[in-house]
Amino acid sequence: MARRGGSIKKFSRVQVLFHWLYSGSWIILALTGIAFLWRGDPTEPAAGLGPLLQGSVGQTLRLVHRVAAIGLMTSPLVWLLGDPKSVWPDLKELFSFGKNDLKYMLIAPLYYTTGRGQLPPQGKFNGGHKVNFYVVFTTYFTFIGSGLVMWFGRGAVSDQAFHTAQLIHSLSFWLGSGLFLLHLYLTAIHPFTRRSLSAMVDGWMELQYARLDHSEWVEREVRSGTAQIRDAERPAAAR
């Protein structure tokens, strides 16, 4: 995929596959869970999505929810086993939240709305990516823990523990769905930042965009000679 000014390799194919397996499972889980919250008037089952969820439909959705849960739980194995060399460097960067990341979080909302302000240089992951990752990382465990209690724990755990699992599962959903919508908007809809989407399609990001949004990372990669850059016309071997 040739892009103006060339491209830089950001993610491996395995990382891209892992991202879509996780997000695909997450979307199925969210839709099959959230469908029941929009039934309209609770005293009128025929309102809202109610008529679509009658009979065995709801039970089928529950089954799909559980199958997708297995997909979500196991998807990190794809990354851990398929591209283990990239796990530690990426996690190390994701868990490092510096002054520039904080500045980015403060300036980005205004910049991405009005174009005003100067974004600080960012690494492979900007401050927003990192916050999104923290939520995904945390909710991965809270979803699984609470979900397993609700799936298998009836009778084995106390009633209060079961209710707490319900609360944690919902809390994880509301927190995760807010970040999910923001992430979806910025990578697929926002006129400027959607230029980053290609990195999660074929692993390559427009070099000009990378220099704007991830300048620190690009400079580091070029300096160390590990940058994989291809020009707009023809793919080039790693330098």
């Binding site: 029941f36 919250l37 039934r39 609770p42 005293t43 089952p45 109610g50 969820l53 009658q54 009979g55 709801g58 039970q59 959705l61 529950r62 991405y112 709305t113 009005t114 174009g115 609700m150 009836r154 009778g155 009633d159 209060q160 079961f162 209710h163 707490t164 319900q166 609360l167 919902s170 809390l171 959903f173 509301w174 769905s177 807010g178 919508l181 923001l182 908007y185 809809i189 926002h190 006129p191 400027f192 959607r194 230029r195 000009q208 704007l212």
Partner: protein
């Protein structure tokens, strides 16, 4: 007070669905015949589950998705050392503030007419959230059957299909000792208090009326000879605060915050599409103008 106090002729006012009905079980007159269990199974066409050996005189060890009424037997000892049987007709209590209704994510469980907690099995997805939410262990999801009701919750309906047509619940109609009264809730509470006073005067000093205030009022009341715990009934049960927070706090707040967030994204898009024309940042746009 058995047959003399029969409530045979009472019917709810069909024009007033807000009227709260109730059943009152006078355990002092229950003989544990299990006729109510049979009537319940027969009227609701629930599967008969035999070959269960609970190790007591009970027909079933507990309620389940196809067993909505069971007489529970409790053997106790009197002060003179003689053994005594306590019997309790157990089923859904139709709470005024019900844990199952609060926990149900699909609104299959709702507060219905006459104060009855209704279950719409078509809307039930069998998630089982209702089970731990019930302090009386009176609602269950059938996880073994594969028939029409497979993987659905099941519980006493208060014979809603009968009382809505002016009939008595099946268990009431069949009780040979008339120990199950059916009528207006307030009237039954008054009757129950009178009966408790009478029993206490007869020497049953622990006699009490259960269900007046529990879960903000049960629609299954009991005149008990001993304290509730002797019958396996919870003392001062209440709705879990965590469950209450989940249903009435987190879910509406979550929806509202998500709505506000979506609105913010729309506003951002309307503004950003004017600034980042052609997907270029202001710096890139300025550079391309310069070029």
């Amino acid at each position: 007070m058995g047959r003399a106090a029969t409530w045979d002729t009472w019917r709810p006012d069909p024009s007033d669905a807000r009227q709260h009905v109730a059943m009152l079980v006078d355990t002092s007159e229950c003989i544990g015949c299990k006729g109510c269990e049979v009537a319940c199974k027969q009227w609701n066409q629930n599967e008969v589950r035999i070959n269960q050996d609970p190790g007591t005189y009970q027909s079933h060890p507990a309620l389940d998705a196809e067993t909505w009424t069971v007489i529970r037997f409790f053997e106790t000892e009197e002060e003179n050392g003689m053994s005594k049987w306590l019997m309790q007709k157990h089923s859904c209590m139709h709470c005024t503030e019900a844990g199952c209704v609060t926990a149900c994510p699909t609104d299959a469980l709702q507060y219905g007419d006459y104060g009855v907690v209704t279950l719409n099995q078509d809307a039930c997805i069998g998630c089982g959230y209702c089970e731990p939410a019930c302090p009386f262990d009176a609602i269950f999801v059938d996880r073994t059957a594969w028939g029409q009701r497979a993987q659905k919750a099941g519980k006493c309906t208060f014979c809603y299909d009968r009382i809505a047509h002016g009939m008595q619940p099946a268990c009431v109609a069949t009780c040979p000792t008339d120990c199950i009264k059916y009528g207006d809730r307030e009237a039954l509470i008054a009757w129950g208090r009178e009966r408790v006073a009478q029993l206490q005067a007869m020497g049953y000093k622990n006699a009490n009326l259960y269900g007046v205030d529990e879960m903000r009022g049960l629609h299954h009341l009991y005149v008990l000879l001993e304290p509730p715990e002797a019958y396996g009934l919870p003392v001062e049960p209440e709705l879990s605060p965590v469950l209450r927070l989940w249903k009435y706090g987190l879910q509406p707040i979550g929806k509202a915050v998500l709505g506000v967030g979506l609105f913010g994204l729309v506003v951002n898009w309307l503004a950003a599409r004017r600034v980042f024309k052609g997907g270029l940042s202001p710096q890139e746009a300025a550079e391309s103008m310069h070029d």
